[in-house]
Symmetry: C2
Amino acid sequence: MHIWRVNTRKQDLKVEPVPASWEHLGGRGLISRILLDEVPGTCDPLGKYNELVFAPGLLVGHMLSSCDRISVGGKSPLTGGIKESNAGGRTGLHLAYLGIKALIIEDQPAGDSYFVLHVSKEGVRFDQVNQLPGLGVYESAKLLLKLYGNKVAIALIGPGGEMGFASAGILNLDKDAVPSRINARGGLGALMGSKKLKAIVINNQGGVKPPIAHLDQFRQAQKAFNKSLMAHPQTRVYAEYGTAGMTRMSNGFGGLPTRNFSSGQFEGAEKISGEYMRELLLSRAGESNPTHACMVGCTIRCSNIFGDKDGQNVVSPLEYETIGLLGANLGIDDLDMIARLNWEVNDLGLDSIEIGAAMGIVCEAGMIDFGDSTGALALLKEIRKGSVLGRLLGQGAEVTGRVLGVKRIPVVKGQAMSAYDPRAIKGTGVTYATSPQGADHTCGLTIRAKVDHLDPCGQAQLSRNSQISNAGYDTLGACIFAGFGFAGKPETIPDLLNARFDWQVGSDILESLGRECLALEREFNRRAGFTPANDRLPEWMLTEPLPPHNAVFDVSEEDLDGVFDW
Amino acid sequence: MHIWRVNTRKQDLKVEPVPASWEHLGGRGLISRILLDEVPGTCDPLGKYNELVFAPGLLVGHMLSSCDRISVGGKSPLTGGIKESNAGGRTGLHLAYLGIKALIIEDQPAGDSYFVLHVSKEGVRFDQVNQLPGLGVYESAKLLLKLYGNKVAIALIGPGGEMGFASAGILNLDKDAVPSRINARGGLGALMGSKKLKAIVINNQGGVKPPIAHLDQFRQAQKAFNKSLMAHPQTRVYAEYGTAGMTRMSNGFGGLPTRNFSSGQFEGAEKISGEYMRELLLSRAGESNPTHACMVGCTIRCSNIFGDKDGQNVVSPLEYETIGLLGANLGIDDLDMIARLNWEVNDLGLDSIEIGAAMGIVCEAGMIDFGDSTGALALLKEIRKGSVLGRLLGQGAEVTGRVLGVKRIPVVKGQAMSAYDPRAIKGTGVTYATSPQGADHTCGLTIRAKVDHLDPCGQAQLSRNSQISNAGYDTLGACIFAGFGFAGKPETIPDLLNARFDWQVGSDILESLGRECLALEREFNRRAGFTPANDRLPEWMLTEPLPPHNAVFDVSEEDLDGVFDW
């Protein structure tokens, strides 16, 4: 495999060998290494010194269930620190087939024109497609598929990324050619926009499946992994309810963010639960299962399609985080409206967590009422118009809160919290506080651990372990949910890697990759100016009790500062 | 003297002895000591753990020319670091007469009501004045003077401070009872608003002049200082032109921020020069001198009164920084309009530097044209209305630039630069970058040094010396311009202190106070999470040449990081 280095100013490509210190890494771990080696910590995230890196995980390319994810990274326009955000869909697989270990996008052009970066066996090409700028994600994808054919992979930005919003993400086509898999967090869409790329189209024609050193061993390990994955009860839950299966659990723990994180339980929780949604969708579609896979080969198939009462698709997928932030957090208990809001957010190319948190603040500021879904939809129209209010929301929860004078701002390192209130799920609070990525459940969710989530003791250790594993999975290109399979058969991880690469790694490989990744990320952030002062939850969460448990976040600063003392 | 500690939640006062380690400090130095001892570096600037501190400088209380300044400080809502901002007027003198070495305002009330804190020999009282909330600074001052009499000192906030704007300052009555002397920078008005104080009224009736240990020696030193001050040519310049005398000099060096820091020379500079203004005002008023003193006893008398063509006062004073930021930086060359803009900014209780920089960004974003003074006035009306755009501007240049997607944002540590472009006056650029206060000329202006301001070499040393002296002067309560007198007779500083306090300090006292103050401030910032990464100018100033010299800021990072390696 090779490193493909694209300069957006010169519009050229250099294909380079993989440096020795990068070889054993992929996905998130590789991104952290590249950024540390090449990007100055203090650079302007939207300036010419920042890089946008696409890196498939180590295991990508073999349609291993839930293991074909694409990591995208750069210095975050939202947090000012390191950022990696991974997604399913086609992008990882296509890059791997072209032998691209990392696609590094550098520099920025002087002009205002947007380009489509076309990547294929022949190299790269910068196409100008005049109809694209300003176009929403869904129309853009449709147009691109028409131009480039149905089989390409596409990573693209919406109007939000073009407007430089720190809440803008990058959308990837799923296996059914729907631009639904999003590298959502941290403003990577704005970073892509600053490189003047509206889309990256990857045509893997003529590409080949990455070579496997020992095919038999690989197949054997794959089989064991699949079996373990299918045997895990949670796999069934996700297959049936999608991630929306979390609503009841989170609400049950009193950790469902409700009305701008002022309560951890929502009286409308049942109406936005995965169980309710499944019944609703089954009754509407009359089909057996409303969920499907986002990546070829995934056996979990957690991605749902939300259809309206006339059988028309509204959005796909409708995830728990979106339900939490655009639903309970706004006091909205109507799945049809949440789905419409979600479609708009996707079409704008934004992170539904960040935008949901920002809109919660707008509600608290009294500009619209909690529960007013029409008002929420109108706010999204403001974003599309690029009005001052829309641009404000586009910058995310922290800036919105500062400007509107709201004190209850649920962010760490400038990034909005996911749909788990850290006062009720304290281990996840430790993750929010200490993750180099800013508040993000995917860096170390602890809600499944069999502990008292309200007890501050032991949460730091729990978060540490979870952060290490997740950084490891993100380096492999494995979906968090693949972890259900790997947890039952941990030896399949070294087995798969050794078979794929002819390595001799041992049983500690997941942990060692995770630790290396986190250490690199923390070093990048140190250079960017981060200190333990950044590893804190907002002050109000330490003093304002969260109903119904009336808990505050009381994990000690010593515990927080000890998370990475390993 | 004593420490007066006021708790705004309990509405009570504790009068405490001065701790030993605070005794030798006053003004800015004392504030840094207090904040380091009492305020957690990571606290929410608008939360209950922050403190608002008023501390007269060490020499305050004797109507020593230009030496009765009041320092106000706290953790800054704008920069997130330590903040001290000093002003002339009556406040320092009145506090000193009551024997108050520092007035520490703590905690915050639960309710929404605003109070007037009345400070007198009898202690403190919280008055509720229903007409005050929402009222502009000038009307508020008028009302308060009617209620409390003409002789009190008043420090008050405008609507901007009430709305929590990070650009809000605190206005102090000058000797003529005009609320014109502003602790402008860093959002201290928002901090005062967060304590629910609209005004602090200080009645020094029954108070006494602070005791002088050796009166004869004091008078002698005072005489020598005065003589030196009056002999300095710059004193005359300020007496005639006010600080507006800087316009020609700054423009001459190519350092006058023009059209959002895109040029260092302004074609309309002559029409906004001090010389032009003096002629204009003389022709209008027919008087001999349009300047006056802001503090009793000041012999420089740099404060002007800008009257319109019908002889009506528009604003007082009209300072160089305001002319630079609300004039050249907006492409406006009409002093009458700049004066009107200034009146509005003052009445809103805001920092004209921060607001001017924010409006420059609005111009660059294309929302109004450069040179459109009517449009600029309309923007200030938006601030008064508290519209989303107005609130955005109120948060200052950095947030405005982020939201409007403008890359050319002239800030350090979130605070807007003063009216000296650091690419043309590089020593001042070093001060902007490295001062614990954020970009601020009063922390170490270097424009008067006889050096090549475009040469990056030696600027760090120049800035260091200037930062030390200024921190020293700010600790004495001396106006920067008092430095003209002290520079000619440096022995008058220890002489005055020794006579006043019966101390035996030596000739290094100014430097030693300055160094102590800076070290304390840097330690506070360290705890707040600041690192060398925060001691940088924005990236675009390192790459975008500034006409007419086409200079970039090229002082090395080693030099910047060495400023405080002493």
